[in-house]
């Protein structure tokens, strides 16, 4: 992608040329930083997926040596190529952590947000370019720290991505490194979210009122607030867990713990539930951080490829704001079974049911937007369209989890795993793929290959469902999650255990279908068809009003906005799209 950034710097602003380091490594240009985020987070996504592919082998064929790479994992992790339970737990915890904090969020917010938001609001850059650069490098540091944790004695963190105390407090060194990694990632997110909010509030172009913002920008704004206010409590909790581990305090350690026959040397008096509250205070909003930018991307692409305005733009915006607000007060629906009385469980069940309504509104608005369309089925549209029912399945299966009595049977089973993977994998990841295909020509000036794009799409769609649909069956049967042998020994799992093999094969097939994407992604930046105009998709939003690729400073003329974001097929207009910056009489 090197030449891309090179072109990006032909802008007129810097009289004195920047050195290589300042241009590509310590760049303060939001577009270069966005690309740095993009490449780093895609690598992490792939890495997180690879960890899961190893786990899926163990689940499908428990106790059999892993082919090809089994021998490379080391005697401490997989003697004779056979994975140990300790190692399985490390892989699980790191898969969750990497996917959420190092893969999807940096991709959705760091990459797409950084690249697209300033362009869509007609700004020359983010409000604080230095801070932007710092937030990338702190993220990078956090990522390296997480990776390094695999090299610790005892390996990486192995207490789940949720790191429930006391298990995590008595865990091996890897957990300490995990906590430090998280502190870096939280810091990076805080810097980033402040930057986004200030940018969106302060740097909007003339005429770009809040109700004219593209929905993607709205989704980033709400997301930033979630990150800003939900992350600090986890940072506090992380500090307390570090204290418990390093200074021997008892924030999360109750009195009278006996581990493996040994009385623990803690003074006691702490509470394991305190950790859970602080963790989920972040982690529930976090899941909306995973989904909101995805909804934003889907909305952009749906509007663009239906060639008509989004139906109910206002309700979309209000629903997103309401969703963001509510997401702060539903967290304890992850804790129904920690011994909740009627009053508190009723509160959290009610807020959980309430929060499903804005999701229904958003999805409904997107569905209705399809009515009367003139749909183009390019690759990004296929991914965006598939997102809708996939998110639908994931969201709908959240309902029985959100009601405490049904959660009794489903809690911590594969039903939960199925629920959230439908929202994050064929949901968010599809939306992110869609975003890559959609904005690729703006970034590189070249198109990605459509045939291989569609191949990537259909293969991924089939395989994703192959992996995650059987999980609901296993969950209904009562199979617990995080089982090293996939539940092989349990009587109630006997009828559904054989599904594991199918799911694992689907997962490896899914990996095969990513190969054309990776090749397409890199090759097209050199060999792809050149775009004929700055606006190849004939879109209305401001990012398409820049030169391709956008130079440093973004716009050649200061943009001014005259209308809402999705004025497609306006009656009486010659063209079927009317860009936001087009003056009234033209």
């Amino acid at each position: 992608m090197a030449h891309v950034a090179a072109v990006a710097h032909t802008g007129n602003h810097h009289e004195h040329p920047l050195g290589f380091l300042q241009k590509y490594i310590f760049s303060q240009d939001h577009k270069v930083i966005g690309l740095q985020y993009l490449l780093t987070s895609l690598c992490f996504l792939f890495f997180g997926f690879s960890l899961m592919m190893m786990m899926r082998w163990q689940l499908a064929y428990p106790g059999q040596p892993i082919p090809f790479i089994g021998g490379l994992l080391g005697e401490a992790n997989a003697p004779g190529g056979i994975m140990l339970p300790e190692f399985y737990n490390q892989l699980g915890a790191m898969h969750g952590t990497i996917m959420v904090f190092l893969g999807v969020v940096p991709l959705a917010v760091g990459a797409f947000g950084n690249y697209v938001v300033p362009l869509q609001i007609g700004a020359p850059d983010m409000a604080f370019p230095k801070l932007n650069m710092m937030s990338y490098w702190v993220y990078f540091l956090g990522g390296v720290t997480m990776l390094a944790s695999f090299l610790m004695p005892g390996g990486a963190a192995n207490s789940g991505w949720t790191s429930y105390a006391p298990l995590s407090v008595i865990a091996t060194m890897g957990q300490t490194v995990w906590l430090f990694g998280m502190v870096f990632l939280i810091t990076s997110s805080l810097l980033g979210s402040i930057n986004f909010i200030v940018t969106i509030v302060q740097l909007r172009a003339r005429g770009l009122t809040f109700m004219r913002l593209p929905f993607f920008v709205w989704s980033q704004l709400v997301t930033s607030f979630l990150l800003l206010l939900a992350f600090p409590p986890l940072e506090a909790a992380g500090v307390m867990q570090l204290m418990d581990r390093l200074a021997g305090t008892s924030f999360f350690m109750p009195s009278g713990l006996v581990v493996a026959g040994e009385v623990m040397p803690y003074s006691g008096g702490g509470s394991p539930l305190l950790w859970q509250h602080l963790f989920w205070f972040l982690a529930h909003p976090e899941v909306y951080v995973l989904i909101l930018p995805a909804l934003g991307i889907v909305a952009e692409i749906v509007a663009n490829n239906t060639r008509k305005p989004l139906w109910g733009y206002n309700s979309l915006v209000y629903a997103a704001i309401f969703l963001g607000f509510m997401s702060f007060i539903v967290w304890a629906h992850h804790m129904f079974l920690t011994g909740m009385g009627t009053v508190i469980s009723t509160f959290f069940q009610t807020t959980t049911m309430i929060i499903s309504i804005p999701s229904v509104i958003i999805l409904t608005a997107l569905f209705i937007s399809l009515w009367g369309a003139s749909m183009r089925f390019n690759t990004q549209m296929l991914f965006a369209l598939a997102f809708l029912p996939m998110f639908g399945i994931g969201g709908l299966t959240g309902l029985p989890l959100g009601l405490a009595p049904t959660d009794i049977h489903l809690h911590d089973t594969y039903y939960v795993i199925g629920h959230f993977h439908y929202v994050v994998a064929p949901g968010t990841i599809f939306a992110l793929f869609a975003g890559v295909y959609h904005w690729y020509p703006k970034v590189t000036g070249r198109m990605m290959n459509e045939f291989w794009g569609k191949f990537h799409f259909w293969g991924s769609l089939v395989c994703m469902n192959g992996i995650f649909m059987p999980m609901f069956v296993q969950g209904l049967a009562g199979v617990s999650r995080r089982l090293y042998d996939g539940g092989q020994q349990y009587a109630h799992a006997q009828g559904v255990f054989h599904l594991n093999e199918w799911m694992s094969i689907s997962a490896w097939m899914l990996a095969l279908f990513q190969i054309p994407f990776i090749i397409n992604f890199f090759l097209s930046s050199r060999k792809g068809r050149k775009v004929e105009s700055d606006n190849p998709w004939e879109a209305t939003t401001l990012e398409w009003a820049t030169p391709t690729p956008p130079p440093h400073g973004n716009f050649t003329v200061v943009p001014e906005v005259h209308r809402g974001p999705y004025e497609y097929s306006v009656p009486g207009h010659l063209r079927d799209y009317t860009p936001q910056h087009q003056p009234e009489k033209a």
């Binding site: 509030v201 409590p233 539930l273 304890a332 011994g339 009385g341 009053v343 509160f347």
Partner: protein
């Protein structure tokens, strides 16, 4: 620079008054603690005094009093989440099975 171009001398005088008030309130809160009241009244009084001091610092030193609606909106939102962070876990601990 958000406040109007009032004379800065006047501002400086306000700051000194606030400073003296803060010192006085510090003495108040420390002396209250020597009364060794029972838990509830002592917590209440200490929090009231601290809130007054907080009010003075935020309103004058941080000139929140002349700040814009945008800032207030952010702080109100934060306040709501702050309260839910404090009170929801607390109510869970008070409404437990067993």
């Amino acid at each position: 620079m958000s406040n109007t171009q009032a004379s800065n001398g006047a501002h400086a005088r306000i700051y000194v008054v606030v400073f003296v008030a803060l010192l006085a309130l510090t003495i108040v809160t420390v002396s209250l603690s020597y009364l060794h009241l029972s838990v509830f009244p002592s917590v209440l009084l200490a929090l009231i005094v601290a809130s007054i001091k907080g009010y003075l610092v935020s309103n004058y030193f941080m000139h929140l009093i002349s700040e814009r609606r945008l800032i207030y909106a952010i702080l109100v939102l934060t306040g709501i989440f702050f309260l839910s962070l404090i009170f929801l876990p607390l109510s869970h601990f008070h409404d437990r099975v067993g």
